[in-house]
Symmetry: C2
Subunit: 115 residues, 2 copies
C-alpha cells in the first residue's frame, strides 16, 4: 500500500514535468527563420500558415517535435526542423506563448485585422 502510494505520487510528479519550460528570450533569438512564414510577432500574413502568438508553449513544442520525428509531416517546415534541439523547440514555444494573442504587430496581420 505504502509502496503503491509512493509509486503513484512519484509518477504524478514525473508525468507533469515531462514538459520542460523554455526560455522565451532565447526563443526570440532563435525565431529569425520562423518570421518569413509566421510573422515578426507570430501573426502570419498568409492564412495557410498558423498564427503562433499566444499559442500554448507546450502545444508548439509538441508540434515541432512531431515535425522533427516525422510524426507530423509538412514540406515547408521540413528544411528548418532538423537543426532544432529539444531545447530550441522549448525556447521557441515559450517565446511564441509569451507574445500573447493580441501581440502588438505593426503589420496588422491575421487575428488583429479581424477584430
Amino acid at each position: 500500500m505504502k509502496k503503491s502510494m509512493i509509486f503513484l505520487v512519484s509518477s504524478l510528479l514525473l508525468s507533469t514535468p515531462s514538459f520542460a519550460a523554455g526560455d522565451a528570450a532565447a526563443g526570440k533569438a532563435k525565431s529569425a527563420t520562423c518570421v518569413a512564414c509566421h510573422g515578426a510577432k507570430g501573426i502570419s500574413t498568409n492564412p495557410i500558415y498558423p498564427n503562433l502568438a499566444g499559442q500554448h508553449a507546450e502545444y508548439i513544442t509538441a508540434q515541432l517535435k512531431a515535425f522533427k520525428s516525422k510524426k507530423r509531416i509538412n514540406a515547408v517546415m521540413d528544411p528548418f526542423i532538423q537543426a532544432l534541439s529539444d531545447k530550441d523547440m522549448e525556447d521557441l514555444g515559450a517565446y511564441y506563448e509569451s507574445l500573447g494573442a493580441g501581440s502588438d504587430d505593426s503589420s496588422g496581420g491575421g487575428r488583429r485585422r479581424r477584430r
Copy 2:
C-alpha cells in the same frame, strides 16, 4: 532541388484558391463537440490542445482535412473528424477565426491569462 522548388511553388499556388469561405454562424452551431478540448471560446485550458480563437480559417480547415485524410494523425481528434464534411470544416474554420484572438472568454484560459 529544382524539382522540389517547383513542387513547393506549385503547391503554394494551388493551395490558395481551393479554399472556400465558411459560414461562421453555422460553424458555431457545429462547434459543440470541440468545446471540451478547445474551450467555449476557442481558448483551451489544457496546454496540450491548441487555442483556435483567431487562428486563420484556412489553416484550421486545412488541418481538419488533414486529420480526416490521415495526413495528420491524432488519436484525440480521430473519433470526431470522420463525421465532418468539407462544408463543416470550412464553417468551423470561419467560426474560430471570427472569434478573434482576444475573444472574451470568461474561463480566462490560455492566451489571456498570459498577457
